[in-house]
C-alpha cells in the first residue's frame, strides 16, 4: 500500500480511538505496576530479538499471559512499547506501527475482559485445573475473533479485497496457532502466580522461541532448494540457448491443466515441477548437437531422443518429485504408441506425462525457434485438438483449451527476454500458519 486511501486512514483512526478507550484505566481495579512493566519489557525485548535473528513469530504468549494475569486496561498497556518500537520493513512505517499497536490493544483488552468476566483470574491464582482452561479458551477465541475482524476490515479498505474473501478463512486459519499460544500463555500466567514466580514463567517461552527459529530456518532452506531446482533448469539453458524460458512456461501450462482437471494442490505443484524439469536430460546431449542449425541426420536425432532417459536418470534420486519423475521419462510418448523412449500407448502412459506432453507441444508451437516463427495461440490450440487422440490425450487437450479460454495465456517468461525474471515463490501465495 504505497498510497494509503483516505478511508483506510479513517479506519485506522477509529481503531486507535477504540484502543485509547481500552487503555483508560478503570478506577476500581488496582494495577500491579511491576507486572505490567516486566511483561511490557519482555514483549518489547522479544519482538526486537525476533526481528534481529529473523524468527518467524509473534509473541502472543506474553500478551495472552498478560490478559490472564492483569485487569483489561493494564493488559492492553503491555502491548504498547513492543508494538510501537517494532521494526517494520514496508512504508509507511509509523502508520503500520500504530495500526498494529491499536489492533493488538483492542484484541488483548477483549481477551482480558472475557477472561475476567468468566472468573478466570481466580482459577489462575488457585491453579485450578482443568477449570482454568475454559475461561482461557474463551479469551483466546475473543482475541482471535477481534484480530481477524480488524484485519479483514483493513484488507477490504486498503487493498480493496472483496469483503467476503477478506474474512473467509482468516479466523479459522489463525485459530490453531493462537490456541497453542494461548496454552503457553496460560502456563506462563499460572507459573507467574505460583511460588516459583516469573523466572519459571520465562522458561515457557524458550521452546516456542526455538520452534520459531527452526521454522525460519526451514523457510530459508526451502527457498534455497527451489533456487537449486531452477539452477538445474538454467544449466539446460546454458547449453541450449534458444529454448530459454521454455521450461518455466511448460511448468506453467502443466499447472493450468492440472488445476483445470481439479487435482489437489500437491499434485498441481508436482506437475509444475514435472513441466519445469521435463527437458533436464538435454544436459546429457552434446552441446554441438543442441545448437546445430541445419536439419538433423537420423543418427543425430537418435542421440537427441535419448534425453528423456538421461533426464530420468538424473532426477530419479530426488524422492520428493514423486510422479514428476515418470513425466520426465515419458513426456515424448504418443497415445498411438509411436513416441519414445518406450512406445507406450494410451493408458500405459502415466497421467503426469500426458499433461506435460500437451504443455510441451503447445509452448514449442507458440515460441519462436530458429527454423520457424511462433504461431499464434488459437492456431496452436487448433493444432493440439487436431492431434488429440493420436498424439495427445483428448482429456488434457480439452482441459488446456478450457483453461486458456478462461484465464488466457500469459507466460511469465517469454522467449524474447534475455533474462528470466527473479523466481516467484513456488507455492500459490497462501500464507502458511505461523506457529
Amino acid at each position: 500500500m504505497e498510497a494509503v486511501p483516505a478511508r483506510a486512514r479513517a479506519y485506522v483512526a477509529c481503531v486507535v480511538v477504540l484502543a485509547l478507550l481500552c487503555l483508560s484505566p478503570q478506577p476500581s481495579a488496582r494495577t500491579p505496576w511491576w507486572a505490567v512493566f516486566l511483561l511490557a519489557g519482555l514483549y518489547a525485548g522479544c519482538e526486537q530479538a525476533a526481528a534481529r535473528w529473523r524468527f518467524a513469530g509473534t509473541f502472543y504468549p506474553v500478551l495472552l499471559a498478560g490478559a490472564f494475569l492483569l485487569p483489561p486496561s493494564a493488559a492492553a498497556l503491555v502491548v504498547l512499547p513492543g508494538a510501537l518500537l517494532s521494526p517494520v520493513e514496508q512504508r509507511p512505517r509509523w502508520l503500520r506501527r500504530v495500526w498494529r499497536a491499536a489492533q493488538l490493544v483492542v484484541g488483548v483488552w477483549a481477551a482480558a475482559r472475557v477472561h475476567g468476566a468468566l472468573g478466570g483470574q481466580d482459577t489462575v491464582a488457585d491453579s485450578d485445573f482443568p477449570y482454568a482452561l475454559a475461561p482461557a479458551g474463551a479469551a483466546v477465541l475473543a482475541f482471535c475473533l477481534v484480530l481477524s475482524v480488524l484485519d479483514g476490515g483493513i484488507l477490504t479498505l486498503a487493498e480493496r479485497v472483496p469483503v467476503r474473501r477478506a474474512w473467509r478463512g482468516l479466523f479459522l486459519r489463525s485459530l490453531a496457532p493462537v490456541a497453542v499460544h494461548g496454552l503457553a500463555g496460560l502456563m506462563m500466567a499460572v507459573l507467574w502466580r505460583s511460588p516459583y514466580g516469573p523466572v519459571a514463567a520465562l522458561l515457557v517461552l524458550l521452546p516456542m522461541c526455538v520452534s520459531w527459529w527452526v521454522f525460519a530456518q526451514y523457510h530459508r532452506e526451502r527457498a534455497a532448494h527451489q533456487a537449486t531446482i531452477r539452477a538445474l533448469v538454467q544449466a539446460v539453458d546454458i547449453k541450449d540457448g534458444y529454448t530459454r524460458g521454455h521450461s518455466e512456461r511448460v511448468g506453467q501450462a502443466s499447472m493450468m491443466i492440472a488445476r483445470e482437471l481439479g487435482m489437489p494442490d500437491e499434485r498441481v505443484e508436482m506437475l509444475r515441477f514435472a513441466g519445469i524439469l521435463h527437458d533436464v536430460g538435454k544436459l546429457g546431449v552434446p552441446t554441438r548437437l543442441l545448437r546445430k542449425d541445419g536439419p538433423l541426420t537420423a543418427e543425430e536425432r537418435r542421440v537427441i531422443e535419448l534425453h528423456p532417459e538421461y533426464g530420468h536418470e538424473m532426477v530419479r534420486g530426488i524422492s520428493f518429485l514423486g510422479e514428476a519423475r515418470a513425466a520426465v521419462l515419458h513426456h515424448h510418448e504418443r497415445l498411438d504408441g509411436s513416441g519414445y523412449p518406450y512406445g507406450l500407448t494410451g493408458g500405459q502412459i502415466p497421467e503426469s506425462a500426458r499433461v506435460v506432453a500437451v504443455a510441451d507441444a503447445f509452448d514449442a508451437m507458440t515460441s519462436t525457434r530458429c527454423y520457424r516463427r511462433a504461431r499464434p495461440v488459437p492456431v496452436a490450440l487448433e493444432e493440439l485438438q487436431r492431434c488429440a487422440g493420436t498424439q495427445f490425450d483428448p482429456l488434457m487437450v480439452e482441459a488446456f483449451v478450457r483453461a486458456v479460454a478462461r484465464h488466457g495465456w500469459h507466460p511469465a517468461v517469454t522467449a524474447d527476454e534475455a533474462h528470466p525474471p527473479p523466481p516467484r515463490p513456488a507455492t500459490p501465495s497462501q500464507p502458511e500458519a505461523r506457529l
Binding site: P195, P207, M208, R230, A231, L232, Q234, A235, I318
Partner: protein, 415 residues
C-alpha cells in the same frame, strides 16, 4: 578385533547403562511402584515421545519430547503441592520401560533397537535423578525460595545436558573414530537449538506438575511437540535439498563430462578428510556441497575434457572452469561460501580456504587413482606428495593418507 577395544568408551558406556538399568529394575520390582498415577503419566509421556520421535541419521536428539518427559520425571519434587516419594531407581526403571515400549515399532520396522540411544537416555536420566532425588527426599530444598528452586532445576538440567553431550560425542567417537574435539563441539552447538527447548520444557514441566498436578503434562507437551514438528520438517527439507544437489552434481556425469560416481566419491572422501582435519558441522556441509558440485563448470564447455580429468589441464584452463562452475553454483541459491569454494578450487593452495584445498587434493587423488589399477591409490598419494610446492596443501594430503589407511576406502587390492 584387537584386545584393547574391549575397554573402549562404547563398552564402558553400555556396561554402565546396563548395570544401572538392571539394578533399577531389580530394586523397583522388589519394592513396588510408589505413586502409580504419576509414574503412569510420565511413562505414557515418554512412550508417546519415543513413538513420535524420528530416526533421522543426522538428528542429535531423536525424541525431544521423550527426553524432556524423562528429565522432568527425574526432577519432580512435588505433585500438586504434595511431595513425591519416587526414588532414583524408580525413575530409571519407569523411563527405561517406557522407552523400550516406545521403540517397539522402530524395532518392528527392522531398524533394530538403538542401543546407544537407550544407553544415553538411561545414563542421563540416572545422572539427573541421582543429583536431585536424594536431596529432595531429605527435604533439603524446603527452605529455598520458589525462584531459587526453579533456577536450581535449570542449573541441574544444564549440567545434565553437558554430560549428555560428552557422552554422545564419546559414543560417536568410538563408533566412527572421528576426532573427539570437533564431535564434542558439534554436540555442544546442537545443545543451543533443540537442547535448550528440551531443558526448558523439562524444568517447566517439573515445576508445573508441582503446582497444578498432572494436568500440566498434556498442556506442556504441546509447545515441545510443535518444536519437534518444526525440526522434523527442517530435517526433511534438508534431506531433499541434499538429494537435489546430488542430482545437479550428476548432471556432469550424464552429460559425459566426468566418469560415473566421481562427484559422489569426491564428496565422501572430502567429508572424511574434513572430519579428520576437525571442521565443524556447517563447514562440513559447505565442503560436501562444494565437493559434489566441483565439476559443474564443465557443463559450460562445448566439448568435454577427456575423461573429465581436470587435474592434468594447464593451470589457466583449470581456473577458467572453476570460475564458470562458481557462476553456476551462485545461481543455485546455496550458501555463497559453496560458490566461493568451487571458484577457488584451482588457486594456489596458500590462497585457498581450507575447504577448497580439500576439494582440490581429493579431486586430484580420485582422478589419478581410479584408472591406475592395483596400487593406484598409493601411487596417486605419492604423486600428490611429490607435486610442486603450492599445488596441494601438505596437511590435507597427510589427512587424506590417514583417512585412506584408516577407513579402508581404497580398493581391496591396494593393500
Amino acid at each position: 578385533m584387537n584386545p584393547h577395544r574391549l575397554l573402549s568408551p562404547l563398552t564402558l558406556v553400555h556396561a554402565a547403562a546396563g548395570g544401572l538399568a538392571a539394578l533399577s529394575l531389580a530394586v523397583t520390582l522388589w519394592s513396588g511402584l510408589d505413586q502409580r498415577g504419576v509414574a503412569l503419566a510420565f511413562g505414557v509421556l515418554v512412550t508417546v515421545g519415543e513413538l513420535t520421535g524420528w530416526t533421522g541419521a543426522r538428528a542429535r536428539e531423536a525424541a525431544p519430547l521423550a527426553a524432556a518427559g524423562a528429565l522432568s520425571y527425574a526432577l519432580l519434587g512435588a505433585d500438586a503441592g504434595q511431595p513425591t516419594r519416587h526414588g532414583v531407581f524408580q525413575v530409571v526403571a519407569v523411563v527405561l520401560a517406557a522407552a523400550l515400549l516406545g521403540s517397539v515399532p522402530h524395532i518392528a520396522r527392522g531398524r533394530g533397537p538403538a542401543l546407544d540411544h537407550l544407553a544415553r537416555r538411561v545414563l542421563t536420566v540416572g545422572f539427573a535423578a541421582v543429583c536431585f532425588q536424594p536431596l529432595c527426599g531429605q527435604g533439603a530444598f524446603r527452605e529455598w525460595g520458589g525462584p531459587a528452586y526453579a533456577l536450581l532445576l535449570v542449573a541441574l538440567l544444564s549440567l545434565t545436558a553437558l554430560c549428555d553431550a560428552v557422552l554422545a560425542a564419546a559414543l560417536a567417537h568410538s563408533r566412527t573414530r572421528w576426532p573427539f574435539g570437533p564431535l564434542l563441539r558439534d554436540e555442544l552447538r546442537a545443545l543451543l537449538g533443540i537442547g535448550t527447548a528440551v531443558c526448558a520444557t523439562g524444568a517447566v514441566m517439573a515445576l508445573a506438575v508441582a503446582v497444578v498436578g498432572l494436568w500440566a503434562v498434556p498442556v506442556f507437551s504441546l509447545p515441545l511437540l510443535l518444536t519437534q514438528l518444526s525440526f522434523r520438517r527442517y530435517a526433511a527439507v534438508r534431506a531433499t535439498y541434499r538429494q537435489t544437489i546430488t542430482s545437479l552434481a550428476r548432471a556432469t556425469e550424464i552429460a559425459g563430462y566426468t566418469p560415473t560416481g566421481h562427484a559422489r566419491r569426491v564428496a565422501a572422501l572430502s567429508l572424511a578428510v574434513g572430519r579428520d582435519l576437525g571442521l565443524s558441522g556447517p563447514e562440513l556441509t559447505v565442503l560436501e556441497y562444494a565437493a559434489l558440485m566441483h565439476d559443474i563448470g564443465q557443463l559450460s564447455l562445448v566439448d568435454p575434457v577427456p575423461a573429465g580429468a581436470t587435474a592434468v589441464l594447464p593451470q589457466a584452463e583449470q581456473r577458467r572452469i572453476a570460475l564458470l562452475g562458481g557462476a553456476v553454483v551462485r545461481q543455485t541459491g546455496v550458501n555463497s561460501q559453496v560458490a566461493a569454494v568451487v571458484e577457488r578450487q584451482a588457486d594456489p593452495c596458500a590462497e585457498q580456504p581450507v575447504e577448497a584445498r580439500i576439494v582440490r587434493a581429493v579431486n586430484a587423488y580420485e582422478e589419478k587413482a581410479r584408472d591406475a589399477g592395483p596400487g593406484g591409490p598409493l601411487t596417486a598419494l605419492e604423486e600428490l606428495r611429490l607435486a610442486g610446492p603450492g599445488e596441494y596443501a601438505s596437511e590435507v594430503v597427510e589427512a587424506l593418507a590417514r583417512v585412506l589407511s584408516r577407513d579402508c576406502l581404497t580398493p581391496a587390492q591396494a593393500g
